[in-house]
Subunit: 421 residues, 2 copies
């Protein structure tokens, strides 16, 4: 491939992977265009807190334009990509065509429903800010509805919440939801009987948090039980309808709220690029695609194995891959060959609630208050922008001290006027 | 009328009027039910700041349930009233019927379009939280769209914003919008030429802020001009379309954003109750309706004259009427006759932007920094809940010091999932 003096790099996606790639290309001899369907970057690790009414939407998102301001060689456009023409080296949006010399695909991931009937239609997801707010509204609205309901069976149905998937997102949301319900909602809806409120965490395998040591799983199970979350292992979901969830073993649970955190797949896109079964793109160790040395795939969308195991879809993998892809592009523009990517696993952690988290870092496993403090500081630090950090700290402190929730509003927005013109 | 020992009071609306009435009835010998279509109370005087991206939605709203918590005799339900049967003394919602002994109508107001073609369809309003967020999204989206637009005429059209109505809301929003655009947006969209951005304030009469002394109007005019707002007096709007606004004098201004702050009318309702031309209900000096001594109408919905002039639709009028109606209901339950309401006008003020406001208080008119400080403290104090006050103070301080805006996100929410079930 021939590379011009000042190559055009198009990055699709402004999540952790795309944004970190862009930042690593600042001040380089490239012209970078970042395309994203939203004008903001979402701090995904805290999305579940928006759904649980702990944080406001604006606390965990930050305008991409503000993040990239001052980078002379980087442009940002809020735009939906409709097609990627790999042969012509062009990215097409609804109203423009952008030619590129290098392409970085960082589209992220979507929910994977494994063909479960009704899951896509009736389950809530925790993949986007909009979904998190819709879920929060829905949960709060259940309580309002239950107040007006005289049939105890129907009330119990309205106040039953099932979380599908015992991975980190499922466990964290179950804990946050339990704290929301057992704290502020019980206080605010004193006419409702707390015994009619149920939180279920359904996991198809025989253990939670499969990537963590068993000792930490046991801790999480104990904590969740104490918080009133009913954990059911080996519970495979077979169907979801608007008013119940059915399990493979025949059990039917009447409810109105299912949150799907069970499966993740690569986000879909429109390009002649081979994907594996879960929608991910298999990349070379350099993060390039096999047939297109100018096309990089990074973050959740990239499939890559290390030590015989696929890399997890996590923020640290995405940011490190973003920076690595940027370095390789700069190498290519300098006539050097790209170097393989290696993931530096600094550890993983999951918070379960007030004072409770598990951490598996620096090769050590620990749980409880120290893990929670560590989780707190790392997530605060990770939030982009000092302003967000300060506001989140205040809100967390407030919740912690007064058992109050920031956000118990049912705000629904008319979409029509926003994008109609 | 016969009054039971423990009369049932139904209050419809949880704005300033309804909420203050409810609070004044706490610990009284009544059973109070507050019905509101949202589960939150909105601090209307700062709604325009949400539309201008200065504050987040959650900063200016507060859950009604939290406000009324601990009041044993008050219940709250989030519900839409479909009909009021004055003869049967019943309030009907979508799924319930609530009998009452006393009814307090505090439905507030809606935009009044005076029959201008296209105004209801194409103009943005500043009457609800949803509208404010939709307007913010729309404004920010104009800038994103303008970036992709190559035709300078089309770009100019996208970046022209007309505010109809030179009353307090129009002036305050014009100032806030000018600060949003001339500050953060110019910084964030450096590819756009600031000379292509226009803010128009259109007023049909020959002066702004008719209820203030002329000296303060002059000050406001000077400030707005300095901030780049073009004020056109005697400019009557005849038509609004998706891509232009037409004036009575024949002028046509191409644009994509019109904000209607010009007229206000009583909110509509379904009951056999006489209204005047602007939808308000004419009440007795006691705030009772002429034919129904058990029905009170308060706040923006009530029409009442004092010293030959109708009382303005303002928050202080609403809160004072709410408390007065509650006192009169308690009097009636004690066998006393209701007493007439008198409005204590403590003053009015309008902020125009950074360090600039006008105030007409304690019979004195003043403008500039002192007025702005007074405005700041009064509005901060008025926000319900210490938590909101603290967060708003931080955000204002941040904006003030760093000329940054809190909220430049285009977040649109799927309405369907929220209320579908």
């Amino acid at each position: 491939m021939t590379i011009p003096d000042r190559p055009r790099v198009v990055i699709i996606g402004a999540g952790f992977a795309g944004l970190w790639a862009a930042r690593a290309l600042s001040h380089s001899q490239t012209d970078v265009l970042v395309l994203n369907r939203n004008n903001y970057h979402t701090f995904f690790p805290l999305l579940y807190q928006v759904a649980a009414g702990e944080l406001e939407a604006e606390d965990i998102v930050y305008p991409v334009r503000s993040i990239l301001r001052g980078q002379e060689n980087i442009r940002f456009l809020m735009n939906e990509v409709t097609e990627i023409d790999l042969a012509a080296k062009q990215v097409k949006t609804t109203d423009h065509v952008f030619p590129y010399d290098f392409l970085v695909l960082a589209l992220g991931s979507a929910s994977h429903f494994f063909g479960v009937t009704g899951a896509a239609e009736y389950a809530f997801q925790l993949k986007t800010l909009e979904q998190a707010i819709a879920l929060r509204n829905h949960i709060l609205f259940r309580f309002e509805r239950a107040l007006c309901e005289t049939d105890p069976e129907r009330r119990r149905q309205m106040l039953t919440f099932a979380i599908v998937g015992g991975g980190p997102t499922g466990v964290e949301f179950a804990g946050a939801l339990a704290e929301l319900i057992r704290g502020p909602l019980v206080k605010n809806y004193q006419a409702l009987d707390p015994r009619e409120m149920h939180i279920l965490l359904l996991e198809a395998n025989d253990r939670l948090l499969a990537s963590f040591p068993e000792r930490l799983e046991k801790y999480a199970l104990r904590r969740l039980a104490k918080m009133g979350v009913e954990v059911r292992l080996q519970a495979t979901v077979s169907q979801i309808t608007p008013d119940c969830i059915r399990l493979k073993d025949g059990a039917t649970i009447p409810l109105e709220t299912v949150i799907w955190t069970s499966g993740v797949r690569g986000e879909s896109f429109n390009a002649e690029l081979q994907t594996i079964r879960n929608g991910q793109v298999k990349v070379l160790p350099t993060l390039q695609t096999p047939d297109h040395p100018e096309v990089y795939v990074i973050g959740d969308l990239a499939f890559m194995e290390e030590d015989g195991r696929p890399l997890p879809m996590l923020a640290p993998v995405a940011t490190q891959q973003g920076e690595a892809a940027a370095r390789n592009i700069i190498r290519q523009t300098n006539g050097q060959i790209p170097v393989p990517f290696h993931y530096h696993n600094r550890g993983t952690m999951v918070t379960i609630g007030r004072n409770a988290a598990i951490a598996h870092v620096w090769g050590r496993a620990f749980a409880g208050f120290p893990a929670w403090l560590l989780w707190l500081s790392i997530h605060l630090y990770g939030l982009i922008g000092f302003r967000n950090r300060l506001l989140v700290l205040i809100k967390w402190a407030w919740d912690y001290l007064f058992f109050e929730r920031a956000v118990s509003l049912v705000v629904s927005l008319p979409v029509s006027q926003t994008h109609s013109k």
